[in-house]
């Protein structure tokens, strides 16, 4: 049985609530249009479990993931484990859903777009979403607020001081307990607690992310993640490219890992470290990664060949400096 999962189209933050959004692939320069749809798989009351994870996983089931364009979220089931692998649906799978035609197909910002759709269908879609509890469903053609740089317009000072309040870490811990996540997450929330005590360390940790071929840079809050898997899933969701749909591993393989971390996909996730070197993400412990990462880049694997990976020499790590092979 094919399952479809609801998800939150943004940061993989544990206390985030699933939202339905119309974010779609940023159209390429060629004006390629793509729509994404999400629908929820499990039955259950809408609005149940407001602290919802993004992705549903069920052993042995093949799951599909996409962003809804106004389709009602049918239910939210038990909290999901992150790292589910899914196929991105496209608007072609849901022709009745309306999407506001992209007027910014050649610009930077994400806009949902789909050929041959009209407003009327959108109304229907919106009505269905209106039944859901989430107040955030409105079928906007723009990406949800957490995906866009500098939005919502909240002063940086407030962002840094408020959105890492101990209350968040409490929710984080609670969610982790519910999920049965292992102790690494507690470390993350524990360290966040420390930051809340007013030390000079950063409380939120936004780094820029850019994907080859996409003119728009985004930002992701690394402090909201506790593992590469969650980060990779969040990035998958942020940068929906049609080709990435095929790059995402399926559950059938048993690996619940985004293809970004898998060497065989078309794209590779890399980061620039403190020394200015570009490294492949995934090889150092998460905490070490957090200390050294400056920004992220989703590179085409053709460019990523020859990228340095840390080499284990006895006790320490040695990072040969290298340049990515350029085409």
């Amino acid at each position: 049985m094919q399952g479809v999962c609801g998800f939150d189209g943004g940061v993989a933050s544990p206390e985030s609530v699933s939202s339905v959004s119309k974010a779609a692939v940023a159209a390429t320069e060629g004006g390629e249009e793509e729509g994404l749809v999400v629908d929820d798989v499990h039955g259950g009351a809408v609005g149940e479990r407001e602290e919802e994870r993004e992705v549903e996983v069920s052993n042995g089931e093949e799951l599909e993931l996409g962003l809804t364009l106004g389709a009602a979220r049918k239910a939210k089931a038990a909290p999901a484990r992150r790292g589910a692998c899914c196929r991105i649906l496209t608007a072609k799978d849901f022709p009745s859903l309306a999407v506001r035609a992209s007027r910014r197909s050649h610009s930077g910002s994400l806009a949902s777009s789909s050929s041959g759709t009209n407003r009327g269908g959108g109304t229907a879609g919106t009505k269905r979403t209106a039944e859901s509890v989430s107040p955030d469903v409105g079928g906007s053609p723009h990406p949800p607020s957490q995906m866009v740089v500098g939005w919502p317009p909240i002063r940086a000072f407030r962002m840094n001081n408020l959105f890492n309040h101990p209350k968040d870490t409490t929710a984080l811990k609670k969610a982790d307990v519910d999920n049965g996540v292992d102790s690494t997450s507690k470390t993350a929330s524990g360290s966040r607690d420390q930051e809340d005590k007013g030390c000079a360390t950063r409380s939120s940790f936004f780094v820029k992310v850019k994907m080859d071929g996409d003119p728009i840079g985004r930002k992701v809050d690394l402090s909201a993640h506790h593992s590469y898997e969650t980060l990779a899933v969040a990035l998958d969701l942020m940068f929906h490219k049609p080709t990435m749909a095929f790059a995402l591993a399926t559950a059938a393989h048993g690996s619940k890992v985004s293809k970004l971390l898998d060497a065989s996909s078309e794209f590779a996730l890399t980061y620039e470290d403190k020394d200015g070197d570009w490294m492949l993400v995934g090889d150092v412990p998460w905490g070490m990664f957090l200390e050294t990462v400056k920004r992220l880049r989703i590179m085409r694997t053709s460019d990523a060949n020859g990228l340095s990976q840390p080499v284990h020499f006895g006790k320490g790590f040695y990072y040969p400096s290298t340049l990515p092979v350029d085409q």
Partner: protein
Amino acid sequence: MTYFPEEVVEHIFDFLSSHRDRNIVSTVCKAWYRVERLSRRIVFVGNCYAVRPGRVMARFPGMKCLSVKGKPHFADFNLVPHDWGGFALPWIEAAARGCPGLEELRLKRMVVSDESLELLARSFPNFKALVLVSCEGFTTDGLAAIATHCRGLRELDLQENEVEDHGRQWLSCFPDSCTSLESLNFACLKGEVNAGALERLVARCVNLRSLKLNRAISVESLARILARTPHLVELGTGSFTVEHRAEAYQRLIHAFRKCKSLKSLSGFWDVAPRCLQSIYSICPNLTVLNLSYAPAIQGADLVKLIRHCFKLQKLWVLDCIGDKGLAVVASTCQELQELRVFPSDIYGTGTAAVTEEGLVAISSGCSKLNSLLYFCHQMTNAALITVAKNCPHFTRFRLCILDPGKPDPDTNQPLDEGFGAIVRSCKDLRRLSLSGLLTDKVFLYIGEYAARLEMLSIAFAGDSDKGMVYVLNGCKNLRKLEIRDSPFGDAALLVNVGKYETMRSLWMSSCDVTLGGCKALAAKMPRLNVEVINDRDESDEMEENPSDMHKVEKMYVYRTLAGARNDAPEFVEIL
């Protein structure tokens, strides 16, 4: 007017309080220009790059108070790269040379180095007040210099600055002879200060009326401080974590009861709901309450508190208050003039949110409301129309629907009609921020009706160049226009180039303006600086010589008498 002695003219000018009025009278004739410039005491520079510092000092040698603003407003949201500019040092250096009688300096969104603060501390013997808002670049070392050298300092007000903590006991640098402080705000500092030094300082500054502590100050310390400052009018608490059975808490309640003059409260970092009871005795006198950094307080506790606050004029709160809480505000706070509702959860839809219902409730209860900042998850046209009818006195109306470009959830229509009603009804509207799904129509309304509008913020709105054109051709008093992620291009940019000389600045980012359009604008208008700001990350992908067709990611245009600035970093191109 030549038969009026200059002293009389000067005396008449004393009654002119606004900068605009004084600017206008100085253009009447040479005599008035001279009288005005020699008698001006308060100078306001809205854009630090619009004029050279030396020129300001030369024109107003009698200046006592100087206000300067640096980075464009969108820098607050990380849209302006870090080292874009806005340095305070040239201003302080010029003032040290030209106006050594300077008494007050107010800086907003500027880069202030420790070196500038040290120079400031040593250069002005009569220096009385330093106010830094949303600035960065300095550390507690700079503050130590101010504390050490500014004899007679009355006001040190640090609002939401990024200050690096160098651990130095800057507060202890206030000499024992310092008794002049009236206002001290260090709420934004992250590090600790010597509690004993602070208590002694506030005790000897008998005129202290405003004190805002940082998170590092404990409740015990607060109780001791309040015991020494019973005449305080404004208080920002430190950390409010305390066990409500603790003795410190009891002492705090007692101290609060003694503070009969307290009118303004803020802070409340980490406050537990139970501890809010300690301020119930003060609430009936409160006119200003800022609980926007207290996410642990949920709706019900907020409501209990607010029921006591019937004199409230200004309320800043998180959306945990909920629509029901806002209804309580509406019925209790009849004097409310300013309301800010900030989001407590931006990552998800969240249950702790406010909707259009809360705003409608507020508008029906608080008829004096004139300033609004409202973050919500949805808004309807019907609600906005009702609000416009109930509150025609808005001067500032900023609505932020968190989901960009979201339509009216009831009708799936854009919010053009709702905002149209606001601008039609609120004839004194000076500042407007739009959000939600909006077509060109809303700009047609704004251009036609918002005659007093001075500042307009646009994001993810409009369909075509026509939108921007309506605004540029319509709003006579427009001073600042900032636009992001909207489909306005070269045609709109160039339709009315003369307009930009009547404005302070124009910001456009992620729009459809091209490099060629910017060049054309710069060529036509030599008294504008047209800055093209490239995101550093883009530069490794950008070609050596981008063509004129290349879309500009960020553009900042401002009128200036100073020509192209010479402190621009390499990623800023000034055309």
